[in-house]
């Protein structure tokens, strides 16, 4: 098992939502669901997080914040969009200020269905995101290796 799968640290941002999904995310930390079993820690600090959990739709005011949090996370990173709102804007989709789901602002890796999403499925989403992260990590390593080789070759040519 790669290290990322064993210790996915989370940051949770509640965008424009009814707070239903938000509460379900917190429920994941309670003794009943116990997200720490999977090595998860909810950090609240993007610089320490690997997986970004977003609940709710994105509106014009919070779009820069969603983007900023995403940007501040170290590479590689994954995004989990939780609930109908985070998928498409949900019941808020038609509001004048809502720009849509999370994907309207940042790339999403996993969608968790539900309104509200169940804690079980949220945990499932996190575990899947961790697997995706593992793939991303592999890919990143490969490109880094290739880069390094390329640089070496360049050096040799000179």
């Amino acid at each position: 098992m790669s290290s990322i799968e064993r210790s996915p640290w989370l940051i949770h941002y509640d965008a424009s939502s009814c707070n239903g999904c938000d509460i379900e995310v917190l429920a994941c930390l309670t003794p009943v669901y116990d997200a720490e079993r999977f090595g998860c820690i909810v950090t609240g600090d993007p610089k320490q997080a690997d997986i970004f959990l977003v609940t709710g739709s994105v509106n014009h005011l919070n779009a820069p914040i969603v983007k900023n949090i995403y940007d501040q996370m170290p590479e590689p990173k994954a995004v989990v969009a939780i609930g109908a709102c985070a998928y498409s804007g949900g019941v808020f989709a038609e509001c004048y200020n809502v720009s849509g789901g999370v994907a309207s602002t940042i790339p999403v890796d996993v969608y968790v269905p539900g309104c509200a999403a169940k804690p079980e499925s949220i945990l499932d989403g996190v575990v899947r995101a961790a697997q995706i992260l593992k793939e991303k990590e592999k890919a990143m390593r490969a490109t880094r290796k290739a880069e390094r080789k390329g640089r070496k070759a360049e050096g040799a040519q000179r």
Binding site: S7, K47, P74
Partner: protein, 289 residues
């Protein structure tokens, strides 16, 4: 005991993190059980650390990483000197030096969370340092030595002579180990008012170095506690496990104090339990040189 100190010091450099990580792992499992959870695997801290070092981060400024690395270097150096048998009073000052590098790293970012975290960390240092110094002086008073091994092999039931100082030390260890009620500068748990406080702007390897330094530190802090119980194997094992459980227990049952209070409470404890123990001890031991 002569001659093997150097090997113990080397062993500490290699095995210190192992021990420190395990202490942390047990802590997390026990805490989870206390809260009715299954909790992470025992080796979780090691998984975390490994992961942190695979991350790719961009620092906030060019000073941050060198300062954090210096923090790690001096935290390890503190332990090495400690197990090499240098003067433990001197070592406590080196420990302060290590902490100052971390505080400076946090200050350098200029970010509000890091800055407040750094301020609070300084406050905590001010709060715990007198107690640690008094504890060391008292240990010297009993064992007439500042050398770790000489105090260790003095084989005296020091906890009987210095009960107040032992309790005061455990009290300030809560601060040094970033445990509740004194986890006001940085915390392992989210959802606190300062985000991650001191470490708010540190991710990936930077945080990894801070964690690693913390493990190194916790090993010699527990070695310090061991000195109080070195009279026999039984008392050593009992004493250490009681201390360890006490720290975890307090972490779980107490709420975080206000930072304004941390200093006054700690100083009060230092005065009452620390100085209150030291002065009668001096009076008694003066008669028996």
């Amino acid at each position: 005991m002569k001659g093997i100190e150097i090997y113990i010091a080397i062993a500490y450099v290699v095995l210190g993190p192992l021990l420190g990580g395990l202490l942390d792992g047990f802590d997390r499992v026990i805490t989870a059980r206390l809260q009715g959870r299954v909790g992470p695997p025992l080796l979780q801290p090691f998984y975390d650390l490994r992961k942190l070092f695979t991350r790719r981060i961009r620092p906030v400024n060019r000073l941050q990483l060198p300062l954090i690395a210096s923090h790690l270097v001096f935290a390890v150096l503190t332990g090495v000197l400690f197990f090499y048998g240098s003067d433990i009073l001197l070592i406590i000052f080196v420990l302060t030096l290590a902490s100052i590098f971390l505080v400076l790293a946090a200050y350098s970012t200029g970010s509000p969370f890091s800055t407040i975290g750094a301020d609070r960390e300084l406050l905590l240092m001010t709060a715990y340092e007198p107690m640690i110094i008094i504890a060391l002086v008292a240990l010297f008073g009993v064992a007439k030595s500042f050398n770790f091994y000489e105090i260790l092999s003095s084989a005296m039931p020091i906890y009987l002579y210095l009960p107040g100082i032992y309790l005061g030390l455990v009290f300030v260890l809560q601060m040094k180990l970033r445990k509740s009620p004194f986890d006001i500068s940085a915390s392992h748990h989210a959802h606190q008012e300062l985000v991650m406080g001191l470490t708010a702007d540190m991710g990936g390897p930077a945080l990894g170095m801070v964690e690693l330094a913390h493990w190194y530190e916790s090993v010699y802090l527990f070695a310090l506690v061991l000195l109080f119980f070195s009279s026999s194997w039984v008392s050593a094992i009992v004493g250490l496990s009681v201390t360890y459980s006490l720290i975890i227990f307090l972490d779980n049952v107490t709420a975080r104090v206000k930072w304004q209070r941390a200093l006054s409470i700690a100083w009060l404890v230092t005065l009452v339990a620390g100085a209150g123990n030291l002065i009668p001890f001096y009076l008694i031991s003066r008669g028996t040189p």
